[in-house]
Amino acid sequence: MSDRVSFTIDGTRVEAFRSQSIMDAAMESGVYIPRLCHVPGLDPWGSCRVCTVKVNGRFSTACTQPAMTGLTVENDTEELNDLRRDLVEMLFVGGNHFCMSCEKSGNCELQAMGYRLGITAPLHPYLHPDRDVDASHPDIMLDHNRCILCARCVRTSRDLDGKQVFDFVNRGSDRRIAIDPGARLKDSDADVTDRALDACPVGALLRKREGFRVPVGEREYDHVAIGEEDGVDPVSDLWDES
């Protein structure tokens, strides 16, 4: 049996290895499927659902769905982009995202995704959850207000830094990133050089005292929409270095 498979995304033929996900195959072929929790090089996680596509007429997350011969994948359709807009909007209203004073503004994937999908003012009500900031570490800060629970820090710390600084606790709307239950960043072996710090798509996990050093106009998404970046995916720069 050949280890190559072939299928279509929005009518375009795409080739992939049998072990690849639809997302990875699409990325290799230069087809953009919106995503937030997925980062090439890390195990898929499947939590944000922004990569939702239709596979043979059924909704599925592209980052977790294996590529197979004969699949018909719909991606850039009005129906799916509407759905994604709704999902991203819920991420906005479910946290406390004040882009105007956030140091990640312009470099934030959530904000950029909001722009790409045409979100202006959310239609859902803001939940204004009561969340805190862990600034106990001398050089690192974790602002739970902005965390979208994508687990990119969890996976990066574990798989690339060889540590286990982050994990999840609680369920449902109480779910949150934790160090060890009850512990704070200063009690962990997190270090300012950890690659986990670069993995965060939003302004939740940050190096202290660096905010706003990059001027407006020179930030990642000041001139290009997310998904339209030239060549290299910004988030995979990390892995290129390693």
């Binding site: 105007m100 004073s101 202290k208 660096e210 905010g211 706003f212 050093r213 001027p215 407006v216």
Partner: protein
């Protein structure tokens, strides 16, 4: 404090105040004989801000505080940056950082003063206070004096372009960071900004002439808008020159004698205290050595021109000398002279911007200073277009803000505005049953001279309706007059 005449007074309520940013409400308290007992300006302030930034990291402050005000965000941006400089050991900035910040600040001043003059003040100055409100607005100015309106727009645009080049954006930029700035100018950017300088100087001279001429011509008539002695507070450079970005706090008394001059901004609480009055959310700051009764003061253009010993740009200095001649060299106390003083500053800003744009330090690459010293507390003081602005932050060991105190310019002018409104009311509203359009506008004119920013300007310019209510001591509305917005 004067007792409130609760039982035998009637109240005239003017709400909100048009062409003043944010909303305000004026109540005029009269006694049973119809005499004006007291007038009060109630200001709806952006409350809860101090709480909003508690628990946030200090490097976020210069950007976060811009939410305070839709009209002078740059002043808050820079004032917070000056405060947090001290937390990172950035007491003295690189020449590039200092000059980029100054350029941003003078650009903001220039556009704010131009906006106030052309959009908010010129309708009154050109048409008179009793003119039909249909004409007495910025559209009326545009129709009758198209060239003037065009200049106003272009001056404002130039100021905004300076802000954009230095802060990254026209509003809510990020240019100033703890210990410096995040960008300098390219040669092209600098040259683009420099191109219209001579026009700006010409137009600023003309605007100054208009305000000067108006004030001199109408001096006998404008007295009732607030013609009273007061103390004045402003920053001055150590040598006594006007300096709107940095300097020493100087207070002068009504005769122009220096009451105090505090070289260390970190010690502002030694010289300023704030009084709370039950009927207003706004505090009333006063000079500590004089106490709450005697220590109230005014800030803003009039205070700055009165308090400095000189202005270090030639044309503005010449204008200052003529201005001070009005009062034989002492402080000028006419409230309506704020307009003239504001235009002296407009010209000064154009002169300073010209000087800065000729300085190659703006193109430098050394943007940030950080010293080893990391204080836990920092105070920033600067002159915002409307007056002295104070930002004071305390941070914990974890870099998060634990306390902050802000004194905004409008707060400092609180007492002065109340006195001006009282003076107008005493002259125009004694014994009347109905409030005419002219009376309503005169109250506004008095307030507008101070250019107050009454809240986080959520309203579009001039879009607010005006409602006037005459209420008797029992709370019944005797007369109600409303006019729609747009003036």
């Amino acid at each position: 404090m004067n007792p409130v005449l609760q039982t035998d007074t009637e109240r005239i309520v003017i709400e909100p105040v048009t062409r003043v940013e944010g909303h305000g409400k004026v109540t005029i308290h009269r006694d049973a004989e119809g005499r004006v007992a007291q007038a009060r300006l109630h200001i709806v302030e952006f409350r809860g801000f101090e709480r909003f930034i508690q628990g946030r990291p200090y490097w976020e402050m210069p950007v976060a505080v811009q939410r305070l005000c839709g009209i002078c965000p740059v002043s808050h941006h820079l004032c917070a940056a000056k405060a947090v400089d001290l937390l990172v050991g950035g007491e003295s900035l690189t020449p590039t950082a200092e000059k980029i910040r100054r350029l941003m600040h003078y650009g903001q001043f220039f556009q704010s003063h131009a906006l106030h003059f052309f959009h908010l003040a010129s309708p009154d100055l050109l048409f008179g206070f009793d003119a039909d409100p249909v004409d007495r607005n910025v559209l009326g100015v545009a129709a009758a004096h198209p060239e003037l309106a065009r200049q106003g727009i272009l001056m404002r645009k130039w100021g905004q372009e300076i802000i954009q080049a230095t802060a990254g954006k026209k509003v809510h930029g990020t240019g100033a960071i703890p210990g410096g700035v995040n960008r300098s100018l390219t040669r092209e950017e600098r040259d683009t900004l420099r191109a219209p300088v001579s026009h700006m100087l010409t137009w600023a001279r003309e605007a100054l002439e208009l305000a000067r001429g108006y004030t001199l011509e109408n001096l006998p008539d404008v007295g009732h808008f607030g013609d009273f002695e007061s103390n004045y507070l402003a920053l001055v450079r150590a040598d006594g020159a006007m300096d709107i970005y940095d300097g020493e706090l100087r207070a002068i008394d009504p005769r122009g004698e220096i009451l105090l001059q505090e070289p260390d901004s970190q010690r502002y609480l030694d010289v300023i205290a704030e009084e709370v009055r039950p009927w207003s959310y706004m505090k009333f700051p006063y000079l500590k050595p004089l106490g709450p009764e005697e220590g109230w003061y005014r800030v803003g253009p009039l205070a700055r021109v009165n308090a400095c010993d000189f202005i270090d740009t030639p044309e503005a200095e010449e204008a200052r000398q003529e201005f001070k001649g009005l009062a034989g060299g002492g402080p000028v106390h006419h409230t309506m002279a704020y307009h003239w003083a504001r235009m002296i500053e407009l010209l000064h800003c154009a002169e300073v911007i010209q000087r800065l744009l000729d300085d190659d330090d703006l193109l430098g690459a050394e943007l940030r200073t950080e010293g080893p010293r990391r204080r836990r507390e920092g105070v920033g003081i600067l002159e915002a277009p409307r007056g002295t602005l104070f930002h004071h932050y305390r941070v914990g060991d974890d870099d998060l803000v634990t306390r902050c105190n802000l004194i905004v310019s409008t707060t400092s002018n609180n007492e002065g505005m109340n006195r001006s409104v009282t003076q107008v009311a005493k002259q125009r509203m004694e014994g009347v049953d109905r409030i005419t359009e002219g009376m309503m506008n005169e109250v506004e004119v008095a307030i507008r001279a101070y250019d107050p920013c009454l809240s986080c300007a959520t309203h579009a310019l001039g879009q607010m309706p005006l409602i006037v209510e005459l209420v008797d001591e029992g709370g019944d509305v005797l007369d109600r007059r409303a006019r729609s917005g747009g003036s």
